[in-house]
Symmetry: D2
Subunit: 370 residues, 4 copies
């Protein structure tokens, strides 16, 4: 489905970095979900560049909901969110057209779109597109929260600095909601220092993020092929910079034995739970009622100011590129809220498929259903 994701709850993204506006359409949401524009704005502010460790591009993200909300609640018809682009300096990019930035999508976009691509600021491939995910995701997260489902994401490692993994999920989620730099331990300063060092050296950093979901009911997901892992991974790999996704203990499971890797079942207050959670809350593609846990690898921002060898695909000649313009020395801080938001949208879809479109909303009428 190209620029859309989902089966029952469907997100469609359009827009380019330097176009007039970004657009996110979220279809299939239940009616009756409260839409709080202050909350959406707060979520967007967590994605917005905001300091020396981010790009110098400043955006207001003055979103407008142009459909799908009436009297403060979702109507059940598609929610359309517009985010106008401002502070656009396209001339930064025009001069470089043809010079493929290494590990960017310049060259692949040129081939795929046959020379008609909007190349300004990465066009439709820009991380800027993720603002629509965050705005739409805010509504999804509100709906999930009303069902007792919470999601949080933190930076597990960056620049050689490790954060601790999730511990007490409720406390950790509360903690993260109040932090601009999403880490659990006292590692913000150390990470920021490494990011600034990289920036000063004309370089950039990546890292690993970790996401947890609590309150997800068991029995959601499909064996072949809409496994929860597959649905989430398909979504996550659309986020520029994510090159690896693992669930639960992930790649470290490869070195374990079965007796170490298996999650023994036990009863806790009469509920079936597992003693450990190396499966990340998913067995056979289906939620098992334990927290869903995954990590994603974020590559270093490919835009660096150091000179790089490349090819000018217009002239067909090798060339040296020195990227100017405004870039993030590490995108990982800003990716966290994008991952949380996209996870929320994917889970709304999985829940609506299983329990119906009414599951996440509310009713003012019993309608025609007995």
């Amino acid at each position: 489905m190209k620029n859309s994701i989902g089966t029952s709850v469907i997100l469609t993204l359009s827009g380019e970095s330097h176009g007039e506006a970004l657009c996110a359409v979220l279809d299939g949401l239940a009616p009756g979900i409260p839409v709080d524009e202050t909350f959406i704005a707060a979520q967007l502010s967590r994605r917005r560049p905001g300091g020396a460790t981010d790009t110098a591009r400043r955006e207001q993200d003055a979103f407008r909901i142009v459909s799908g909300v009436f009297k403060g609640y979702t109507t059940g018809t598609p929610l359309t969110i517009l985010i106008p682009n401002e502070n656009v300096r396209s001339s930064d990019y025009d001069a470089h057209y043809g010079l493929a930035r290494p590990s960017h999508a310049d060259y692949t976009a040129h081939v795929k779109y046959r020379g008609f691509e909007d190349y300004r600021g990465g066009g439709h491939f820009s991380g800027r597109i993720t603002a629509g995910i965050v705005a739409a995701g805010a509504v999804a997260l509100t709906a999930l929260q009303a069902r007792g489902i919470r999601i949080g994401t933190h930076i597990l490692s960056c620049g050689g600095v490790q954060d601790r993994p999730f511990g007490d999920f409720g406390q950790d989620f509360d903690h993260l909601e109040n932090r601009d730099f999403p880490v659990l331990d006292e590692v913000e300063e150390a990470m920021r220092t490494r990011i600034l060092e990289a920036r000063e050296q004309g370089d950039s950093l990546g890292g690993i993020i970790q996401t947890a979901v609590t309150g997800m009911p068991a029995g959601v997901g499909e064996p072949w092929f809409d496994s929860l892992e597959g649905m989430l991974a398909n979504a996550l790999f659309s986020i520029g910079g994510i090159k690896g996704v693992e669930f639960g203990a992930g790649f470290s499971l490869a070195a374990m034995r079965g007796s170490e890797a298996n999650d023994a079942f036990r009863l806790t207050d009469g509920q079936v739970q597992t003693a450990t959670n190396r499966s990340g809350g998913i067995n056979g593609g289906i939620s098992n009622g334990m927290p869903i846990l995954f990590q994603a690898a974020v590559k270093p921002t490919p835009s660096i100011s150091r000179p790089q060898q490349t090819v000018n695909f217009l002239t067909g000649e090798e060339a040296t590129l020195r990227v100017t313009g405004r870039h993030d020395p590490a995108i990982i801080r800003r990716i966290c809220i994008v991952v949380t938001s996209l996870t929320g949208i994917v889970l709304c879809d999985a829940l609506a498929l299983r329990f119906g479109t009414d599951y996440l909303g509310a009713a003012r009428t019993n309608g025609g259903k007995a």
Copy 2:
């Protein structure tokens, strides 16, 4: 789409481990692809358990193509492959029903299917279902090969033993096609030894597999949300036991700087290529013409003969489980051909979406198209 994957080339899987037959329907294939039953049988034999390091269950995999092939070629209408189940010993499982095997799908299937699941041998969650992927994939691989696209998978690590990564792709693919135990270096015996050790200890092993695709044209895939990474990951996470997927340098990118991680572009014989391939052949979700490279983490087989703590979800009591029956001490050898096959099917879909359904087949008539 539940038990189907794909948009233009679509695979649908049905069947249970101990049911009458497995079924794979592959729809959307171009007409005119030669269908070689000997090749399909050979591919199936590479997935089949075959020695002390595999399950003792022996299957003939006597597949039958019941539609979609006429006079030796695909017709363009859906290919249906049936694989009858034989050598079924259901009583192994009946006695254990209710005892959720740790890290298996017994419990999640019970919740999702509300007590009506076919619990024999893992039912629809059984690795046995992957035989249909291999049989259907054989046709997809034939079509890709005719376009110069080749795919290979090997065990990169298992039980602490490392294989070397792909080097000369063509030679490595040739080498793998002639090996029952898919490794590149002289590590088969060491790996087999570790697997047998684990088996003797009532335990199991996982590992990491690596897949490469050569010949993929640039410009295939979508930015949001059908990125090539997302399409492949969604497929791969359906394979039981895969808990992590990474492209190119994957998780190790997280610790690099941009200047280390970026793949410089260069010209090779007038073609745009990259000097390194840490992106795994994909930028912005779209193929860049370099080999597609990914690794997947395979957890240890959850069925182990050691006693394990669990819950009987029928009685609601904690219990000790000792899995009997026939199981693989390490499924990783057999997963390799499944991953190759599924990758082939996904790439056929991506190619057909971009270049049309005729791209991968042949014509005996120019039809109505000028």
Copy 3:
């Protein structure tokens, strides 16, 4: 989705008229639906040719359910139904290959499948494929019936003979279930006479069928673009021979005024109903709780024994064709059960999308859902 239809409940059809077997995979069904093979066989017998007014091809329709049913109930995983082809006389067709039968799919199949089509007996375009719809539909109808939803189809007109429209739905459905020739009034003999007359003259007849659905809850369907009308019409137009579909008063609405066409609302036993039902139970694409009503036009069977002018698309020459082989002088009798069955499958899909996959099944466990 090519040979599949549906979003949450998905039917995939494969097979050719003279291939080894037909296959229908019905995915997304709730678990816990009783599967009664006797009922399936009875439904198939209503589609089967059975007298002088049908083709002389005799089929046993000895179907086999090879997955998705366990201990008599659907498991929730895909149901696979195989129907082996028997009584195949392919040589009837080989001699005619290249001679495009007028108003058949011979020529379009040749162009689309580029000369690789299975041309025997219409191949994948054969009405024989609808046997899979009927078999799978029997399970869907059982599930709907348990929710109080019933469906019936009768021949409204054929060969100039009119049946009366539906009156008392319950009685009419009961009546139709016991009739091999589905008409409401005493018109069977008159219709059969006309069909036999046409046959004797080497010709064929079409007609109009009418379908009703009762018990459908209000609020199901989408405004844009999965309207109930659109979902049903998309399904119906796949049935060979259907060239028109109308809901409620349909084409006759075009000649009415609004004051005649509108269905006034009223209360009946406290329920919102309409006084008339010219809308066919659907407003704005969504069910309104009244019976769903539609008519479909069935063209005369294109296979007639009279000589016809045509083209040999292999030689590129004009030619005269005289169709031999075994054909129905009027397919309309057999189409009725196909339409009923396909309608049931489409409605299961629409209901599952709205109310969740559990809506149509049963539970032996409350699973993880509070």
Copy 4:
């Protein structure tokens, strides 16, 4: 897919009659299609109410393309068209909330959206939403035209006045492009007179429209279930007021014999054609190279000023309704351009599925494809 239609070329519609703006996202278009805003505006003007025979609501349809176009051409990424709502008089509707307008979607929307529907002016069910179809369709029609594919729609009957059917397609299309009231014969005045009579009597009219497509290559469409008829019908039935769709001779085929109904094949200038076109250019769901022809029944506008019996679904009481506000006494004139536009979008999708996404666009680079 709810408010989206298409597989490779996908239209998503959002917005409500009295919301801030309508939005149409057209994804999957080839890059390199020229986008002419003057042409889009002209197409919108053909849908816009413009005289005594239409609603008194006046809209500027001041659309803005906010993504997907760069330097005058489609980029290949999603095209987003915004149409702000103006001239909104919501108070017309507030007073009537609860009073279900007969044969409107008020009641079904209330049930489906559980009391949270935007009820102003029909909300998301308003014919106003079709402006997005026309704007997006203009781009699709441009792309088709470049491939020699043309589409036209006229009013075949309205108020008892008959237009002649299509004759010389090229001339008829030229003629229609210059007419505000789309009829082929000299019947505009007679039809307008009937419409005004109905309006004066507080009533409304419906009618039948006829659409033709020329230049469509043979071999496009699927047998089961994305038949061209099914794809088009699914789209058409989303248009409010359309309650019947027939292809070629449609319902009149039901009364013919096979010898009358069949379209004999013949050679014309070496091309396979049919002597007649009662199949409407489609055999077995697949285009046969002849003009695609269909008719659709449009019911009379349900909004009439005569008093009507209804139910207040908020109070649960029967009531008398007299619709005020601004309404079309006959929507059929304005539906013609909507049908043409939507047909164009559906055919772009079908063509892209068969021939690839590049088929309808242009290239400035040969990219990576040999």
